[in-house]
Point group: C2
Chain length 161, copies 2
């Protein structure tokens, strides 16, 4: 409907909840990390693809905005938008929502790097992977830029200044 | 020695390691999340302080830079620098290192918000907490700005443009 990829679906587990009774900040990123695994499955870097190419994906940088608390047992999903890529880097935006529902729970921008696991060292995407990224990017490039992409952290007084 | 707070010490556990055999991206943030708990203990928001004030701290925004892989079993520590605060917000920078050693494994900037758990809604820091933050800030304000603070995510071609 939105043109975004669904890259992870699941339920918030008791072991992810903190002393405040809601999803601990780090476990939002775990769901987004699983979503990146889900994206890898869709671009030919699933386990078979990783074996065939000797490549994997490392996260270089990540930015998260926490919008709503999430309680244990809630069914959630991650939607993914491609923001850009070059020969060996992939910039994506994940958003966490209640399953089949619109409210935004958190947003997460990631910069990912293709690596040859024989090093590990960075290396260009395998041709078949690069082609899939290009096709996805063509589908996503007309989508609006997500609200929480491109952010840096600052106190309100610093932003105002 | 550096003037930074040590806010977490521990060892990388097997359940934090991904299919590449190293600490999964989300679990770096778990260590930084534990470090924020450690900081809370040092500013009067430990369990007793949370009960007495009815306050807690929510993470609003976080930015992580991944610098080195970390293998299972490695002893690591988190060092914390105060970057700023206002009446109800706290901006901190955590860095992950091998225990008692200088190499940087990852950096994490966080914006934290003081909340009244009766809402939850944001609320000014309790006076004793605010005073501790001011004292820490006075100690940290002459420290150099961390390399990975204030970042936003972009492809190299975007930065060059």
């Amino acid at each position: 409907m939105t043109g975004l990829l669904i890259t992870w679906r699941g339920t918030v587990l008791p072991e992810w909840v903190d002393y405040n009774g809601h999803l601990r900040d780090a476990y939002y990123l775990l769901l987004f990390s699983y979503a990146t695994d889900g994206l890898m499955d869709q671009i030919g870097l699933d386990e078979a693809g990783r074996k065939a190419t000797g490549h994997s994906i490392f996260t270089v940088e990540a930015h998260i905005n926490y919008v709503q608390e999430v309680k244990v047992g809630v069914a959630v999903e991650v939607r993914t938008q491609m923001l850009g890529h070059d020969g060996k880097r992939l910039q994506v935006y994940h958003s966490l929502h209640p399953a089949n529902s619109q409210p935004l729970l958190a947003g997460n921008e990631q910069m990912l790097l293709n690596v040859d696991m024989n090093g590990p060292f960075s290396t260009p995407f395998a041709p078949a992977v690069h082609e899939k990224l290009g096709a996805l990017m063509a589908q996503h490039q007309s989508l609006p830029k997500p609200e929480y992409a491109g952010r840096s952290i600052a106190l309100p007084a610093q932003r105002a200044g």
